[in-house]
Symmetry: C2
Subunit: 452 residues, 2 copies
């Protein structure tokens, strides 16, 4: 019997997150204050984040203990399973071994609860009663609704309007866990009202929803802000994924040659690859390849400049050095809502700039073709975002078929597509459109990059 | 650390299904031919079922080996996890221990693939190229689409029209796995056309969809029929659930006092409780309580007579001795589509008639109240059908609080409600209606019971 799954018992769940900061070959560029353009201090962030998370954002410690209260909730769904995709391999007739670490069995159906639960915990511990956040496809909003439910914190979610309309199920999920959700742009904030005055039909963007949530948190004493990706502490919490996978690949007696993941803000994929890239940085595994996949409709790493930019549309956030399509960029309405962000996690950008990771951009039609292939071999319906990973994994496995190499390909599979079936319907019925790299829109957006 | 989950490795997955037939204290009443009213023979069933399944339907063997090909596919998601509902217990302040065996992590999100995969396998092995089936809420249709995909069999699904319209996601799921789906009543069969002639607005029923699928299979040489519940061999395949749970309760060092499950056709719950009820039949565990929960809108065990009836509306199936609301009964449009069937698995009816199991009927509003309670404690969004189980488990746990008894309550949790969020929306917004026991409709339907 060939193993199909590598299962960790809950007692073997890692108890520490891995922090890449002390292992980076060069330090991360500093984060700048949006007003003064000087490096931000922990005090600057205090109005919207709990101190424990601010400390994690800049921590020099290689490992950070996961609090027992967070572990206890992780154990309601973690450890997640590492699967071997035997049937996909067979269908491709490839000598490659394809593994996928599947986060779709969390109650929210994605990897997002890994940080949602941690963030809710630290806010609760510091006495915060209410949180404001944004959500794109709804994965983050629903995960944080679940996290806040576990710690009895009130939550308001600003949900990108196009997803709010296309994906009512995610909205209901958020409400079932007890949170409040409004479509963004909303009339509840100045940022939202300003955009609606310019364009009443605006379908929203993640950057804009962030502006609304940050404004909500900054203007209310009882409220903190919470971000589901991009920031260092978010990536840190997601490293539970890669730490588990290391143990599971060891059970399989294998080490990955190629690790593939999609990047929107970058947290799921970083959560998988950061615990591995230290072996490449240390020189132990110089040939390890890490491939970031992004949509052609929002090709941040592959087409954007590496520059200081805001995380949100209104320019309220600190300035981050990142590959960016411009903070005013509003991407095409592809189904992978989680990949429509203009920027990218600074840690990922830094590693890309240092040449330690690769990037590739894909069109959505071949991405869904790969998703259907996966569904018709492994059975799992993949969310639009990780369908990107499956596409590139298939490409790499077919290259192995040509070369005869038996590489180990590891897919970071961030979750199921049970809330995204309208997208599969569009693909299967031939109604799906592809979107080109929006060169004009990006060019225009880049003229608004802040001067530093 | 108190354990939250009891996890079996795939190498410890049971390799045999448990067959209750030889352990029944009295033999099951015979199945009758719809024309002759004489006991059916295996030959009578050959036009629509493969011989291996017909043999299982009447098998005197206590254990039946699970073919390695079926085990290999089971291992893509099984064994499933047994959870301890610590947070629900705490919220109820009950001394009871609540366990739930969760089938929601299968690719289809429910327990249905356990038999879908087995049925597809046996059909394939006997050279069948095409299968016709019906589906209510879409759980069975999607599971069989997945099963047929694994064995490369063409599938046509007749889906109860009200679910087809209310639950487009399940339809797309079926299509993503490569099967064809039509709303029932359809114009593709005589049974469907007849009903549409009488009532063009007919929203369908499971019994009617069965008529359509059976007619399709009986009138085409290349096509077999497949049923997702009710029959002995279907319950047999589901016993993998209870067999796993026995091992997991042993890991927990506990034995259940009360096992609770919902019953539509009865397969999920029978799959859980049959491997336990043998201890009650043998006299080893005389106090074990098994509670079947049904909706007030289709109260088969609690309100129906125990009589011979057809499994379908058109009267094409063999006659089964069962509690029934009449094969022409069309139930109210409650959200638990999987519980809207007029009849019940003969094995369950027999055990109920013998006084070995209990039954209880619930209204849907308190059932969803319990579902939201579960979501806001354990995080899991429960499908409308197992929300019935959660309701009764909460009632029993609160009785323990009153009496001070620390009973072990085991919930058969058949799957997630990610496709049923419209129902949660209706509940949360206060738009949900309750439906009384439809006494007049049942009275009328019972006048059509066949004479035996």
């Amino acid at each position: 019997m060939e193993r199909t799954k590598f299962i960790l018992d809950e007692k073997d769940m890692p108890t520490r997150w891995y922090n890449i900061l002390p292992d980076l070959p060069e330090p991360l560029p500093q984060v700048l204050h949006p007003g003064t353009k000087q490096p931000v201090t922990p005090d600057d962030l205090k109005p919207i984040f709990p101190m424990a998370l601010i400390m994690q954002e800049f921590s020099p410690e290689r490992y950070i203990e996961i609090p027992e209260e967070v572990q206890a909730i992780y154990r309601t769904w973690r450890p997640t399973i590492l699967h071997r995709a035997h049937r996909l391999e067979k269908a491709l007739d490839t000598p490659a071994k394809i593994f996928f670490k599947y986060e779709g069995t969390s109650q929210a159906g994605s990897h997002k609860p890994n940080t949602a639960v941690a963030q809710a915990y630290y806010n609760k511990k510091e006495g915060v009663k209410r949180i404001a956040t944004e959500t794109g496809a709804g994965q983050w909003g629903s995960a944080l609704a679940m996290g806040c439910m576990f710690f009895d914190i009130e939550l308001k979610v600003y949900m990108v309007k196009i997803s709010y309309e296309q994906k009512p199920y995610r909205r209901i999920l958020i409400e079932t866990w007890g949170a409040t959700v409004v479509p963004s742009p909303s009339t509840d904030t100045k940022a939202g009202r300003d955009i609606l005055a310019q364009d009443p039909e605006c379908t929203g963007s993640l950057g804009l929803a962030i502006s609304e949530a940050v404004e909500d948190a900054a203007t209310r004493d009882d409220t903190n802000y919470s971000l589901g990706s991009v920031l260092n502490h978010v990536l840190l919490h997601q490293t539970i994924i890669g730490e588990e996978t290391r143990k599971q690949m060891e059970m399989a007696g294998e080490y990955p040659d190629i690790i593939i993941g999609c990047i929107g803000g970058g947290s799921n994929f970083a959560g998988q690859f950061l615990p591995w890239i230290r072996d490449k940085i240390s020189g132990e595994k110089p040939d390890l390849r890490i491939i970031c996949v992004e949509p052609k409709a929002a090709p941040t790493l592959t087409k954007g400049p590496y520059a200081y930019d805001f995380g949100d549309v209104a320019g309220l956030t600190p300035l981050l050095k990142m590959y960016t399509l411009g903070h005013t960029f509003i991407p095409s309405p592809i189904h992978a809502g989680g990949l429509r962000y203009h920027g990218m996690a600074p840690i990922i950008c830094h590693l890309y700039n240092l040449g330690l990771i690769e990037a590739r951009a894909e069109y959505q039609i071949p991405v869904f073709e790969a998703g259907v292939k996966f569904a018709r071999t492994e059975g799992i319906i993949t969310a639009p975002e990780p369908c990107h990973n499956v596409k590139v994994a298939i490409d790499e496995a077919l290259k192995c078929k040509e070369s005869g190499e038996s590489k180990n390909i590891l897919i970071a599979h961030s979750g199921h597509g049970h809330f995204d079936l309208a997208a599969y319907d569009e693909y299967l019925s031939g109604r799906m459109k592809d979107y080109e790299f929006p060169e004009d829109k990006v060019k225009e957006a880049l003229t608004h990059l802040p001067k530093v």
